[in-house]
C-alpha cells in the first residue's frame, strides 16, 4: 500500500519505539488474561485525557504501514473527535483511512460497536474512560483489585438487584458490565448495552485502552462475553418503536434528532457507515 510521509520531527505513529514495545507487552498480557486490567506506563498524548488517549496509544502501538484505519465516535465517522483522531493518525503514520467497516483493519471507537459484523483479522480498539467496572460501587483501587483477585463480584449483583427493586429494570443502559471467559467482570466502555451481544464470540480482536487510568485490557477473538443478569430478569437490549428516517433500518441503534422547538423528533442510525451502505443498496435496487 502507498503511505504518505509522516510529519517531520516525529516517529511513525507519534510514540517512540520503546514506548510502543511497552504497550505491546501490556497488550500481550491483556490478551493472555481476557478481561484483566493490565497497568501500563500510559504516556501523555497531544490530546486531552478523556478524549481517547488510551485508545490512541493502543492504536499507535499496533498500527503498521499496511493498515487501514477507521475512527468512529458515537458510531459516526464524521463527529468532530473522530475527525480529529483520524487526521492525527493520517498526519503521523500516513496510512490509509476509511469509513467502511469491512475495509478497515483497525477500528478505533468511542461508545459504539459497528452494526456490520466484524471479521477475522480486524482489531477493534475501544476508548475507555473508567476501566474499573466496580469503581462506582467501590472507589478505592486497593479494594477493587482485591475483589477481582478473589472473584468477589457479589456487590455488582446487589447493585443490579437494587435497580430492579427500585425501577423494575436494571437501570444500566450503557457501560453494562460483562463477564469475560467466565472469569473477570469487565467494563465494556460506555457502549450502549445494545452492543454488548456483539462482543460475545466476536471473530475480531478487541482491545481496550484507558489512558488517564493507565490500564489496558482485551478480549481475544472467539471469547465468551456474558452480560450480567438474573434468571428471572434476563439481559435484554434496547428496542425502538421507530425506524431510521434515512435508511429505514429497524434493527440498528438509533439516535434521536430533535426536529423543531416543539420537541418533535426523528430517529436515525447512529452508525453512519451502516446507514450509508443500506441507502446505497436501496438506490441500486430502485
Amino acid at each position: 500500500m502507498t503511505s504518505s510521509p509522516v510529519r517531520a520531527g516525529y516517529n511513525f505513529a507519534y510514540l517512540d519505539e520503546q514506548t510502543k514495545r511497552m504497550i505491546r507487552r501490556a497488550l500481550l498480557k491483556a490478551v493472555a488474561i481476557p478481561g484483566y486490567q493490565v497497568p501500563f506506563g500510559g504516556r501523555e498524548m497531544p490530546m486531552p485525557y478523556g478524549w481517547g488517549t488510551g485508545g490512541m496509544q493502543v492504536t499507535a502501538a499496533v498500527i503498521g504501514h499496511d493498515d487501514c484505519l477507521k475512527v468512529i465516535d458515537q458510531g459516526a465517522d464524521d463527529t468532530t473527535n473522530a475527525v480529529s483522531i483520524r487526521s492525527f493518525f493520517r498526519d503521523l503514520t500516513g496510512v490509509d483511512t476509511t469509513e467502511e467497516t469491512e475495509a478497515a483493519t483497525l477500528i478505533q471507537t468511542r461508545h459504539r460497536i459497528p452494526e456490520k459484523p466484524l471479521h477475522e483479522g480486524q482489531i477493534l480498539i475501544y476508548q475507555v474512560p473508567i476501566p474499573e467496572p466496580l469503581r462506582f460501587i467501590e472507589p478505592s483501587e486497593v479494594e477493587t483489585r482485591k475483589m477481582h483477585a478473589l472473584e468477589d463480584y457479589g456487590v455488582m449483583h446487589i447493585k443490579l438487584y437494587e435497580d430492579i427493586a427500585q425501577f423494575g429494570h436494571i437501570a444500566t443502559a450503557y457501560a453494562y458490565p460483562v463477564q469475560v471467559n467466565g472469569r473477570y467482570v469487565m467494563d465494556p466502555s460506555p457502549i450502549p448495552k445494545f452492543d454488548n451481544p456483539k462482543m460475545d464470540n466476536s471473530p475480531a480482536l478487541q482491545l481496550f485502552g484507558a489512558g488517564r487510568e493507565k490500564r489496558i485490557y482485551a478480549i481475544p477473538p472467539y471469547t465468551e462475553v456474558r452480560s450480567l443478569d438474573f434468571e428471572d430478569h434476563p439481559f435484554e437490549v434496547q428496542r425502538w418503536e421507530a425506524s431510521c428516517a434515512i435508511c429505514g433500518s429497524e434493527s440498528s441503534f438509533l439516535d434521536e434528532v430533535v426536529m423543531d422547538d416543539q420537541g418533535n423528533h426523528e430517529f436515525i442510525c447512529s452508525d453512519t457507515d451502516y446507514c450509508r451502505t443500506r441507502l446505497a443498496q436501496q438506490e441500486e435496487r430502485a
Binding site: 516525529y10 516517529n11 507519534y14 510514540l15 517512540d16 514506548t19 497497568p39 501500563f40 506506563g41 500510559g42 504516556r43 501523555e44 498524548m45 486531552p48 485525557y49 478523556g50 478524549w51 488517549t53 465516535d73 458515537q74 459516526a76 464524521d78 463527529t79 468532530t80 473527535n81 473522530a82 475527525v83 480529529s84 468511542r110 461508545h111 459504539r112 474512560p129 478505592s140 483501587e141 486497593v142 423494575g168 429494570h169 437501570a171 443502559a173 450503557y174 457501560a175 460506555p190 457502549i191 450502549p192 488517564r212 493507565k214 490500564r215 434496547q238 428516517a245 434515512i246 441503534f253 438509533l254 439516535d255 434521536e256 426536529m259 426523528e266 436515525i268 447512529s270 453512519t272 446507514c275
Partner: protein, 363 residues
Amino acid sequence: MYVAVKGGEKAIRSAHELLARRRRGRQDVPELEVSQVEEQLSLAVDRVMTEGSVYDRELAALAIKQAAGDLVEAIFLLRAYRTTLNRFYSSEPIDTDAMEVERRISATYKDLPGGQVLGPTFDYTHRLLDFALLAEGEVEASNTEAVEARVDEAMARVSQLLEREGLMVNEADSGAEPADITREPPTYPCDRSARMQALVRGDEGFLLALGYSTQRGYGRNHPFAGEIRIGEVGVSIVPEELGFEVEIGAIQVSECEMVNGFTRLEGGEVKFTRGYGLGFGQCERKVMAMALVDRALQAAEYDEEIKSPAQQEEFVLSHCDNVEAAGFVSHLKLPHYVDFQSELELIRRIRTADAADNEEDRS
C-alpha cells in the same frame, strides 16, 4: 427528512483559525515575544515547568504564549512535548545544602547561621495596584547592590539542627531506585518517591486547598515552616563510560521543609515529624502546600487515624494531576448521544410501565 450534519473537519479548521486570532488579539498591539513571557511572567513560567515536569524556561514560556495565558493548558502542552523526548540519563540527586541561595527564611528561629534572607518576594508588599506599571513606567533599581548581593555564607539547615539534637525524625537516602509514575503507573499504597513525584506534578490549587484543609482541622499536623529556600543547584550525571560525576547545568528550585507536630515513635522516643516540598523555579506556595500534604499522607506511618481527604493517599494522588483532571472534565463536551439515547429509552420505558401500573390501580 432529516439530513445528517456533516463538515466536522471544516468546523475544526475554522475553530482553530478563530483561536489563533483570539490569541493574537488586536493587531495594533505589538505581538508578545516568548522572551518577554520568560523574563516578565517568570512565576507563570515556573509553575508551568514544575507541573509540566520539564525544566526549560523557553519552552514553558512558549507554551504560555500558545495557550494564551491558560496555565493548565500550557502545562498540558509541555507535558505532551515531554512524552516525545528521549531519556539519556537520570541525574544524581540534587544537593540543596549546596544551593546558591537567593531566598531563605525560617519561621522557627529568629536567627540562624546564614541569617534570614528575604530575596525577591511578594511577602510584605502592600497589595495596592501600582498604576505606574500601567503607564509602562520602569521601576528603577535604586540599590542594585542589595538586589545583586548573593549570600555566600554557609547556610545550616534547620532540619539538620533538629536532627542532630535528636528532636526530629531522621530522613536518609535509602539508596533505592526512585519510582517514576510517568513510566510505571502508581499502585497503592505507593512509596514516598512516587508520592513526591505525583505531588510535584500535582495542581497547585488542589494541593493548596488540601494543605489549607489540614490547617483547619481536617487532618491537623501542627506545621511550622522550618525552612524555605530558593536558589540554584547544580545538576550532574554519571556517564557510564566515565564513571564519575559531571555537572551539566544548574536549575533554580524552591524547597520547603515543614516541622510538624511531635509524636512518640515505636522505639519510645518523642520527636517532631516532617513534611517536604520541592519544585522548579520560584514556587513557594506550591512547595508549602506540598509539604503539608506530604505530612498528611504520612498518617499511616504514625498510626494516625485516617479520616480527612488530605490523609487519603489514593484520593489525593489520583486526583491531583490537572492534566488528567482537566481532560476528563472537559471530555463531557464530547458527544454522548448514544449513552444519552440509551438512558432516554430506559426512562421512557420505566415511565410507561409506571403509568400502566397507575392505570391498573385506579381501575
